[in-house]
Symmetry: C2
Subunit: 303 residues, 2 copies
């Protein structure tokens, strides 16, 4: 792999080596078998590191109850990133109209109506409603891998409209949640360093919408509510976040009426590995051919 960093050259290399398969829309592409194998191997590494934590494994579809999105306040902060699912609710005549317009290349969006579901905007969102009620004494810890949607078409290979996140969610007292977050921040760095990736952690903020968003982002940074682990993938100056740690304080606890064993409003934190970004970081750092990778790195992933 060249030492040069550029979004375009990484995209082209990934395509050339069959790691990604273009699909005609920015941010949407197929993944080749080596890409998938690396992703599964990293996923297994995370499982090995986490194996004694006693997390409950769950899996959720890429589709979420729209009421959860509405309740979560995601639409207040990131209306531009959310995706809703629309469908056809018409009769036979309207179906003919739909078909004719599609074949004529005409607009057909007025023949679509909103459904009760939306795209999952963050890997942890489906789990919070399942916590409603009183938690066990030690809180809960959930382990998931979900597909996430973001409406941000981009030619940057690292900025996808659909991607997988290996996510852990901790819910309990503030102490439990913050201690757990700090443990994983170090674990995440150690794990990525074991793969000879130049990973660093930093305080971060979310891409809030609009002018007011700048203030929200500053506030989030001041309170150190979000950390990211970053690695240079398409730029040395602006490294890419491959792991994100969010401390929500009592945001979800209040919204979904989650209480600790002592009756307080529960706090939550989550961490997510951006699986495709990890794979791209490995391919960029160590080369497009796995056979060229340093032996110690291969030994960690293929033990």
């Amino acid at each position: 792999m060249t030492a040069e960093f550029s979004s375009e050259s990484l995209y082209n290399e990934l395509v050339k080596f069959g790691h990604i398969i273009p699909a005609g829309v920015p941010g949407i592409f197929g993944r080749g078998h080596i890409f998938e194998d690396i992703l599964k191997r990293f996923d297994a590494l995370v499982s090995r590191i986490a194996k004694d934590d006693g997390a409950e494994v769950m899996a959720f579809p890429p589709i979420l109850n729209r009421k959860v999105l509405e309740k979560s306040e995601f639409l207040d902060s990131f209306p531009h990133l959310a995706g809703t699912v629309f469908s056809f609710h018409g009769n036979e005549g309207q179906a003919k109209d739909l078909s004719a317009r599609v074949h004529a290349g005409q607009d057909w969006c007025d023949l679509q109506g909103m459904t009760d579901v939306c795209l999952t905007p963050a890997a942890c969102y489906p789990v919070y409603p399942s916590f409603t009620g009183t938690l066990p004494k030690n809180g809960r810890l959930v382990d998931m891998q979900n597909w996430v949607f973001r409406n941000e078409p981009s030619p940057e290979p690292t900025r996808m409209q659909a991607f997988r996140v290996r996510e852990f969610v901790r819910v309990g007292t503030p102490d439990m949640v913050v201690t757990w977050r700090d443990t994983w921040l170090q674990r995440g760095l150690d794990m990525l360093h074991s793969l000879s990736l130049p990973a660093q952690s930093e305080v971060a903020s979310d891409p809030f919408f609009g002018r007011g968003g700048r203030l929200l982002a500053m506030n989030q940074k001041d309170q150190k509510l979000k950390f990211e682990i970053v690695i240079p993938v398409i730029s040395q100056e602006k490294p890419t976040a491959v792991c994100s740690f969010n401390y929500h304080q009592d945001h979800f606890g209040k919204l979904f009426e989650i209480h600790t064993a002592d009756g307080d409003t529960a706090q939550t934190a989550c961490l997510g590995f951006g699986m495709e970004r990890i794979v791209m970081a490995l391919l960029k750092t160590h080369g497009m051919l796995v056979s060229d990778w340093p032996v110690p790195v291969r030994e960690v992933l293929w033990p």
Copy 2:
């Protein structure tokens, strides 16, 4: 497990044993860790059976280029099942309006506009555009596991809005494609019988929209273009399709300009295992606790 068959009792048992986690919308739910483990074990069994076929492994996101949906003619036959992705394209004032309406429980669908992507309507759809051009002499064979969306909210646990399909797609001459389909029809039955599941194959048809749909379905049955392997899961009289075999003849070959090495329009066929339905068939047939399953069945899945 009781010998009784009912959609409601199966749903309740799945929830009671933590196999599925209700999410407030019909056809959308989380999956518990045992459910996921069984699913992964069945997936591995399919991989073992298919290992010498030389299939190319690919993975696609649950989101598809909308142009592929439009071109595929899916909207002519199944406009009611397709899902399109809408998002917010407005300014700051409109974002405030959106937020206010969401919090007031008012309609906000006019603040959403169509995007260039839609939900994947069938697991094989993303792959056809990647075949455009001339195939190698022996055609191609692709192996995928993708999330599929269907706009058909239903209380039946087997009828999901989002589910995973392990899918194989064969493209080549008519002979290659039909021989391959027939081989897998037998393999699929053998594999499910090895799990002591009462699986049978039958000629089937798709749920085409509207009055004209009945004729299309009859035609599809007459030509034996679709087979299904079915197992009683929620009903003994109407067993559930757990595997589907579709012979498209030159439908996709024409649409996506795919040619055989001899220059003819290529033919395609696909087969898909409905992963969640297989898991539910196992749980219904052998019991909600894996420890109660017959030893030979457990030995096939946990070798």
